[in-house]
Each structure stands twice: as C-alpha cells, then as structure tokens.
Amino acid sequence: MGGAGENGADGEAVDPGAAALAPDAADRLVERVALAAALAGSGLLLLAIAVSAVSIVGRSLPELAGLLGLDWRPHPLPGDTEIVQLATGVAVFACLPYCQVRRGHVIVDILTRHLPLRARSTLDLVANLLVVAFAAVMTAELSVGAAERQAYGASTMVLRLPEADAYRLAALASGLLAVAALYTCWRSVREIRSGHPVAVLDGGAATEP
C-alpha cells in the first residue's frame, strides 16, 4: 500500500502502442545510486523525528514528575531544532536526484499529453537541460557557501554544529542532481531516437501533496 503514484495518477499519458525499452545496466546504476541517496535523506528524517520526540518527552518529564509529587529535573535536550533544521535541509537535497530520475516533478501536461512520444521527449529534453543548468548553479553556490562558512567557522547557536558540513552535503547532493539530470537528458535523447519510452525501475512517479 502506499501513495497514489503507482497507479498512473501523475496524469502522464502512456502510448499504449509503444513498448517501453527495458532499463539497461547504466539506467539501473543511476537509479540505484539516486535511490540510495534518497533513502539516506529520508533516513535523516527519522533522526529528526527521534530528536524531536526525545526533546518533547525530556521537557515534559519535570511536569510529569511534579504530578507525582517528585522534584526531578533532567536536562532537556538543547538545540533540538538545530538538528531538525540541518537534517531536513540535507535530507531534502539528498532526495532531489531520485525525483529527477523517477520523473517525479509536477508538470502541466494538458496541452502536450496527446503529442507523439518523440515530441514529448524533445520538450522533456529542454526541461532536463534547464535542470542541469540550475543544479550546476546550486552546486557551485552551495560549495562557495560551504567554503565561506568554513572560513569564518559558522556554527549553530546552541550545539555549535558546523554549518559548512551541512552546506557541503547539500552541494554534494546538488552535484548528484546535476549528474542525474544529465542522465535524464541522455534518456530523452534515447527516447527521441528510438521512439520508445525508457522505463524507470518500477514505473510511476511521485504525486502531488
């Protein structure tokens, strides 16, 4: 059970006539690497959840103890919001390449869904090139941001977590997005050449919230 994605809810028209090309070894490799990054990213969300839970329990303990007539004041976990912020920040970037590979972005396809595959793939190629460009800008700027934060030792207020590390990880993930987007450009070219869609691992796409 799960999201709506696997049911073709993305509104993407599939040419019933054109059989999808099976993914080759390179397709699989890119998809696996992107999936690994995405799972590592969403794993960071589990960390954020654990930290928040410990923090909430920690700060309500004195009150609960008070209800029992005890005077017990354990140290609450300080700076939990900082961990949550940096973890979700890095997590989001780590998820981007997988979304790109899985054609997970929201598109308005009402005007183009009935075009032949070659025409659609040509338009997709343009969009994928735009992603390459934007991901390259993000990678470069996040790297600069990481270097700057390294230089003046920027860290969070309470826990003194080094912000440079978070920026570095985000830059790394952006770089991976650029590579993934380049790969999707190549995938579009293959679709234009062959006239057949290239299948992603298990089809489907993410859906809107």
């Binding site: 059970m1 969403s42 972005h105």
Partner: protein, 445 residues
C-alpha cells in the same frame, strides 16, 4: 530605467512562465528558470548568485518548512498502516446501514484518514482500495462509489495536517497552528455537505445505493472501538499543537507535532498494521519523492517570487484593484472563480505558490470588517478549499484519475457524473464561507 520597465519585465516573466508550463517544463524548473533570468535582468548576476547561495539551503532548512517532510512521512506511514481499513469498518458500523450509508462511511473515513495524512491523493488512493470493493459488492452505482471517494479524498488536504496550508502560512507569515484550527469547522461543513449530496443522490435514484444490513450491536461497537489509534494520534498531534486553545499554552511546535505524529503513526503501523522493514522503506521512498517534488517547487518559487517582488507588480496590481473601489466581496468572488479556472491546469501547491504572493496583498488591502490576522486566515481557508476543488473537477481532477485507477469497471463518464453532486455541495460551502467568515474564524476567536 523608467518606472514601467520592472512592471513590463514582471508581466513578461509571467507570460514566459505560462509558456514554459505549457511546454511540459516542470513547474519547479519553470519557476527557477524565469525567476533566475528575471532576477539577473533586474539586479545583475552577482546579487543573483548571492541569493542562490544563501536562499536555496535556507528554504530546505527553514524550521517551519521542516514540518512538510515529516507530515509527508506520517501520511505515507498511515497509507501503509492498515488503519484505513479499520477506519472504514468503524465508520461503516456507525452509518453503513443507513440510506447511502456506505458512501457516507467512505466520506467519513476519508476525513478521519485526513487527520493523519496531509495528502488528498494518498487519502483518495488508500481509502479507495478499502472502500471501493465493498461499495461495488453491495451494488452501489459506479458514479456514487467513485464520486464519494474522489470528493472525500479531497478532504485530505483540508483536514489538518495539510501541506498546502503550511505553505500558505509561510508565504503569508501566519501561524500554522491557528490555520489548522481554523480549517476545522469548514472541514466539518464539507462532511455535512457531502452527506447531504449523498442523501439527495440516493433519494433521486434509490437503485444507486441498496441498503446494507445492520450488524449486531456488539460487532458494531467493536468496529468503532477499533479506530482508537487514529483518534489517539489525532488528539496528541492536534491538541499538542493547539495547546494554547485548549489549556492556554502550546505544548509543541507544528514541526514537533509532525514528528510525534509520524512516530506514533509508525508505531501504530508496526503494531496494529504489522508494517515491517519493507513497508517502512517504501514509505521512506515515497516520502523522498514527494519531499523532493515539493521542495524543488518551493526553491523555484523562492527565486521566482524574489524576482516578482522586485518588479513591484503585485503591489501595483493590489493598488489598482484596491483603488478601483470594487466591492471587496466581488473581488474575492472573482479570485475564487479564477482559482477554479486555474484548477483546470495546475496542482494545488503550484497554484498557491504562484497566486498567493499576488492575491494576498490585494485581499489584505480590502476591508471586510475583519482584523488583519482574521482576514489572512479566512482567505487562507478559502484558498485551500478552492484549490482542493481542482482535484475533483475535470479536466485535471487528479483525484478522479486516482479513483479511476482502482475502478476498472466504472467508466470515466460515470465518475465525472458522480462528482457533480459533491461539486455542487462544495460551491455552496464556498459561498457560505465567503458570506460568513465566522465559519472559519469561530474557533480562533
């Protein structure tokens, strides 16, 4: 530069954005591309790069935005938890034996599922898996079965938690918890409206909904009692987040509420629903896809809206409309009509990100006899309802397609016909909330 240049640039940028969208460029990418070009054209390359350097990670690591991936994870855990079946059985035990009861149970369990899942599509898909086979088996018409589920699923984003509402809150600097609280009565009104729509449909065509047998009192009570995990999760998250409403002080932030919600939904999924590692990984994978999709749009919108604000186009539009002396209610009606049209093209989140920066200053400049915060919250609820309508009206109507994916024996035409009574109920609700803002504001006053 003359004074009109930025305005022309802003308008040209908007047209270029629409062109890119029409050409299948993902919304996030189109926003980032047009925003980048416009920003560079207005301010130069160096300030643009500086903005990207500071801005993009800032969006992803904003503590208020952290709530989004956590709510998404909660929803995906809920979808795989098996709680949907319990909810439907429980609601069925309550109202299933009445006229149109199964459809009412479907709507009710969609609303209840919406309390642990902030996504309309996931709500529609999850509940359809459970409820559709039962309705069809009992002889409910295709139109009523699919229509009630498509409409019910749309409650997923209205009933808190709701991702679009979080985004609205951040765009307009409003309190997320207050917006969630404000969404409550309008959601209840939606359920009521849907029940009326079901009753009227069944009265006009009794064959569309055969009466279901009534279970024994004991079995019905057991089925209702079985929904306790959902009730418990909802109470913890909702009461905790709205602590100041219930006992004068907030217990935790929305982000912490989402974390606790995801944790408790995960526990419920593992115990009540027997979710194992495979299910968890699937939930994480879906969360990754949805988070990436949403945050890339947020990043694109951050750049586009920075450009748009620099053109001062939103301010000018607001000044013109406010200065024209049009009755405020007419302006709101026009905005609502525009949203319903836009809903034919776009998903709800993109609509909110594209339009709220333009419409919000307009609405805030008008006098509705409400305070500033009240106006902002009322308009937010209204926007949420009308963008949600886009999910259930043709031609995009994503919920319709989701349900259709499960109902192979129901034609698209039947489903489209099936949502009509629910759409009418929704139009009545929108009119009521425009006429009586108190429906959205009563709880926060």
């Amino acid at each position: 530069m003359t004074a009109t240049d930025p305005l022309i640039l802003g308008a040209g940028g908007f047209l270029a954005l629409l062109l890119l969208l029409a050409l299948r460029v993902p919304i996030a990418v189109a926003l980032a591309a047009i925003g980048s070009f416009g920003f560079i054209a207005m301010a130069g390359l160096a300030p643009y790069l500086a903005f990207v350097k500071g801005g993009v990670f800032e969006v992803a690591s904003n503590y208020s935005f952290s709530v989004i991936p956590l709510f998404l994870l909660m929803g995906n855990l809920a979808a795989g938890s098996g709680l949907a079946r319990r909810l439907f059985e429980g609601m069925n035990a309550l109202v299933g034996h009445r006229s149109g009861g199964l459809a009412m149970a479907a709507v009710g369990s969609c609303a209840a599922f919406g309390t642990i899942c902030g996504s309309s599509l996931a709500t529609a898909a999850t509940m359809a898996r459970v409820a559709l086979p039962q309705m069809r088996r009992l002889g409910y018409s295709g139109a009523l079965s699919t229509g009630s589920l498509a409409a019910g699923g749309a409650l997923g984003i209205l009933v808190p938690p709701s991702v679009p509402l979080v985004v609205y809150a951040l765009l307009t600097e409003q309190n997320v918890a207050k917006l969630f609280l404000a969404a409550f009565l309008p959601a209840a009104l939606a359920i009521l409206g849907f029940f009326v729509a079901i009753r009227v449909t069944v009265a006009l065509d009794p064959a569309s909904a055969p009466r279901a047998p009534r279970g024994t009192a004991r079995s019905r009570l057991a089925a209702v009692a079985d929904i306790w995990p959902v009730v418990a999760i909802f109470l913890v998250v909702f009461v905790g987040m709205n602590g100041d409403f219930f006992f004068g002080r907030s217990l935790f932030s929305p982000t912490e509420g989402a974390a606790i919600g995801a944790l408790s939904t995960g526990i419920a999924a593992a115990t009540a629903g027997r979710m194992r590692l495979k299910g968890l990984i699937f939930a994480l994978e879906q969360t990754a896809l949805q988070s990436a999709m949403i945050f890339l749009i947020l990043i694109g919108a951050e750049i586009y809206n920075a450009f748009l604000a620099r053109t001062r186009l939103p301010d000018e539009i607001a000044a013109v409309i406010v200065g024209a002396g049009i009755a405020p209610v007419l302006v709101v009606v026009a905005i609502v009509a525009l949203y319903i049209l836009l809903g034919c093209l776009m998903d709800s989140l993109s609509m909110i990100l594209l339009t709220v920066p333009v419409f919000f200053p307009v609405v805030m400049g008008l006098d509705f006899g409400l305070g500033r915060e009240e106006t902002a919250i009322w308009f937010g609820i209204l926007v949420l309802i009308v963008v949600e309508l886009g999910l259930i009206h043709p031609p995009v109507g994503l919920n319709i397609y989701v349900i259709q994916g499960f109902a192979r024996d129901v034609t698209m035409a039947e489903t489209m016909r099936g949502v009509v009574p629910f759409l009418l109920a929704e139009f009545v609700r929108v009119a009521l909330i425009i006429a009586f803002p108190a429906i959205a504001l009563a709880l926060i006053r």
